[in-house]
């Protein structure tokens, strides 16, 4: 059970949250300009990193805000959290 540090509500148990996958995957500005490979890379390919991992969480059962958490995917240790616009 993870304690997710919501930037607004503080640490809460993980079942209050929705996991939103890897962070820092911006939607391409002009998808039509991309090759199928480039689009597939945006759509499906992930670093799935072992260790430091920046990821999106939403405090679904709380303040409904999306934010960024940095977590070690091996130990599940939370290394930091930040808001969009803010930083981790």
């Amino acid at each position: 059970m993870l304690l997710i540090p919501c930037p607004w509500c503080g640490p809460r148990e993980d079942d209050e949250f929705t996991f939103g996958g890897e962070a820092d995957i911006p939607r391409p500005a002009d998808p039509d300009a991309l090759t199928d490979e480039q689009w597939a890379d945006y759509l499906f390919m992930r670093d799935n990193r072992r260790g430091r991992h920046r990821e999106q969480w939403c405090h679904t059962a709380g303040c409904r805000r999306w934010f960024i958490v940095e977590r070690d995917t091996v130990t599940n240790e939370i290394l930091g959290a930040g808001t969009y616009g803010g930083s981790t």
Binding site: E13, A61, G62, C63, R64, R65
Partner: protein, 201 residues
């Protein structure tokens, strides 16, 4: 076709005329006015406009509330609040706010019928909530005036510490109210607490 319009609360309270909620330790507080307010906290003009209507400042500190005589402003998010007021305020409150906020990027939505309030109070309140709530509601961490959106068992709920009795107001969505009420009923039973007849959905 004009039979008097009867209102029904999720937990079975039925009344045509609004009456104050009965006293007690585990009761529904039906038909209160719930207004959802969204605005940019940086828009100080908008906030003072709201202040003029409500008579209280919007709480900017997460998980806190500000209470006026007949109205409580509850923090829901950095740009979202719930205004909890007496039954008769319904409609008018939302209307006044909409007028006051004209021209601002804001949203005022009356959701009174979409949720209800369960009041739990008494010395065993903490023990009862500990059966379904993972938060530490000990007064040192959760003093009167504090609020938190969380889960009660598998339902979302908004908890408000009302006073040090302790007394809690538990705000739940309409369709989840019977489930939450049943949990509280089941948890409260060993402590000799239960809903009055009219509320056992």
């Amino acid at each position: 076709m004009s039979s008097p319009i009867s209102r029904r609360s999720p937990l079975g309270a039925i009344q045509s005329a609004d009456t104050p909620p009965p006293d007690g330790q585990l009761v529904e507080r039906p038909f209160l006015t719930h207004v959802n307010l969204r605005l940019d906290p940086g828009d100080t003009e908008a906030r003072s406009a709201v202040h003029r209507v409500l008579g209280v400042q919007l709480p900017l500190t997460p998980n806190t509330t500000t209470a006026g005589d007949d109205l409580t402003a509850i923090w829901l998010g950095p740009d979202e609040w719930l205004l909890l007021a007496e039954p008769d305020a319904s409609g008018s409150l939302a209307g006044e706010l909409q007028t006051a906020l004209a021209g601002h990027f804001a949203s005022v939505i009356d959701i009174s019928a979409g949720q209800t309030v369960i009041r739990l109070s008494g010395p065993s309140a903490l023990d009862v909530l500990a059966r379904s709530c993972a938060l530490d509601l000990h007064p040192t961490d959760f003093p009167p005036g504090a609020c938190a959106q969380t889960l009660l068992a598998r339902a979302q709920a908004l908890l408000i510490a009302v006073d040090g009795t302790p007394t809690f107001d538990i705000i739940v969505r309409r369709s989840f109210a019977p489930y939450v009420a049943a949990w509280l009923q089941d948890s409260a039973h060993p402590f000799g607490l239960s809903f009055p007849e009219s509320n056992t959905a």
